[in-house]
Symmetry: C2
Subunit: 342 residues, 2 copies
């Protein structure tokens, strides 16, 4: 069996830690692993398969001999070092938004549009976390019953802002319970005992960047440039799984609840949790640490003859980020699209 | 000036406490105040305007000489004692869902449908908290630009389950931070670091009771029996203000953002918080303890030519319950509809 030389750029972040965990615990033909981060983390030891790996500085010459480079070090580092890594012969699987809308860069959810991956020119983009979680429930329905409009409201975990977001929620929760003053470092607003509109820039349309990502990336992944999508993205005081309230309008007759449930349950990576009698539905606590996206509250929308409502929860760091990237790497290996594919 | 004899049934609950606070701090022509509760709380002293009032047992003969009776003691007590209080000559302002859909009982948001209040036969219903908060933003728009469909997803505070809901969130937060096991007494699922579909019964339509209330009560209050409404009601780990993500489809041309903002800002009880540059929008933390419903994120829906999106936060115990009931009492007094109106 061939082994692959892998690098993680941003190895010390929340998503980087999850890449390490996946490479350690899942089946993957690993030949070597290089951990890269900014200068600040250089020299840090990270335990991996009973060895201490030393974090190296992310530099222009970091990618010699690397086959697969997972990037989760932010957009500016991706823009700076992604093309260099690709030029050096690696396939870059980039978790930032830097290249997602580049027409030359495939934007991949492996269960949804795997065939797009092999068209890469050295860089593949991992979609936005909220987009991936939405797509896992949207795609299996859209394939059989074309969707014409999506209205989605999110309940996004603090992990979307990285490990420091999780720490900030915990610190603020402690301060809140102790009646002490709340310190804000990561988020512009208090997150403990609060929620707020996603703190990315609003443009003239009135949508913030997170919402625009959901709209544009959904269209690109589904190859539906005109799909009607509106999103309202809200940050909630929850550690690491996102939830989404989704209303889907179908172009023609909507599926029955039974048909939709069957299509969703048959889709790899989806678990239907929809126990109306016992009131058990997707919850972020249950979805945390799980690979699958949970889908439930599937029901005919009483306000529209062709619409369905549903509710989703999915782990933001796993399927929303590292797991999806890891699955892209596995897909490329399966399709023989790592070396020499450029 | 005439003074009114007032009773609070359910004086020891979260909403009862807020009624007391309102009667103490706001302008109200109070002649006497009687505090009623279940046997368990009888004899408890509650401080009110420098006096100790003693909680009495809620009984059939509790309402002699009472002009206005605020009920917030749950649906079964309202059903049992509401008609008795009305028969004894009081106007009952009932915070439970017991009478809301009774065609003989007005369902009132004073800013929205005040004229309905004077048609009462001794009982007036206070709407569901999520419904009131929605109506405060929906009504001023619907009046000028008829709305044909509402898609709403809620972010509901634990106070909707009463004072014990707030205590449960706090206890679970402490246990969660200490790494101790989580005890569930009020909610069927953990609420700290979690959210879940509103834990009311789901019927054959797939909607839970909270969602059905939002649909039916909205139609009744607006006198629009055919208004299309779909709601997804979610409980979030926040103490006492609800938020709502709202998509409105208008029957004809939608208002511009400027027109909608102007209509909302001019509506009594609404504050528009919509600072796109500084990313400041309605937040439950800011809305807590406030009379007004905060409205923001007002924008043209890019997925539909006649729709707008917006986001709301409102105090669940104040405008969502006690304040709205208190305002109903003030309205009845203003319209001379307390005594002899039956």
């Amino acid at each position: 069996m061939v082994g692959y030389h892998v690098a993680i750029a941003g190895a010390t972040g929340a998503v980087g830690a999850e890449f390490l965990q996946l490479l350690e615990t899942r089946d993957f033909p690993l030949a070597s692993l290089k951990l890269l981060a900014s200068e600040r983390s250089v020299g840090k030891k990270i335990r991996f398969k009973n060895q201490d790996l030393t974090v190296e500085e992310l530099k222009e010459d970091s990618f010699k001999g690397v086959d697969i480079a997972f990037f989760s070090a932010g957009g500016s580092r991706s823009r700076q070092f992604g093309p260099i890594a690709a030029e050096a012969g690696a396939v870059v699987i980039d978790n930032s938004s830097a290249f997602r809308m580049d027409p030359e860069v495939p934007l991949i959810v492996p269960e949804v549009n795997p065939d797009d991956a092999v068209t890469h020119h050295g860089i593949i983009a991992n979609p936005n976390c909220s987009t991936i979680i939405l797509l896992m429930a949207l795609a299996p329905l859209h394939r059989r019953w074309p969707v014409r409009r999506v209205v989605v409201s999110t309940y996004q975990a603090v992990s979307g802002a990285g490990a420091s977001g999780i720490v900030e929620l915990e610190k603020q929760n402690r301060a809140h319970l102790a009646g002490e003053s709340i310190v804000r470092e990561v988020f512009p607003h208090q997150i403990a005992n609060n929620l707020f509109s996603h703190n990315t820039a609003i443009d003239d349309s009135g949508y913030n960047e997170e919402e625009r990502k959901m709209v544009k990336e959904t269209r690109k992944i589904l190859h539906e440039p005109n799909l009607a999508v509106t999103a309202t993205c809200i940050r909630v005081p929850i550690a690491r799984a996102h939830s989404e309230s989704v209303n889907l309008e179908f172009a023609d007759q909507r599926p029955t609840v039974a048909e939709a449930t069957e299509a969703l349950a048959a889709f790899p990576g989806v678990i239907v949790i929809d126990d109306r009698e016992r009131n058990i539905f997707p919850m972020p606590l249950d979805a945390s640490g799980r690979d699958e996206v949970f889908v439930g509250r599937i029901r005919e929308d009483i306000s529209h003859p062709n619409a369905l409502d549903m509710f989703l929860s999915g782990d933001q760091i796993l399927k929303g980020a590292a797991l999806n990237g890891f699955q892209i790497a596995q897909l490329l290996i399966d399709r023989n699209a790592v070396k020499g594919a450029r």
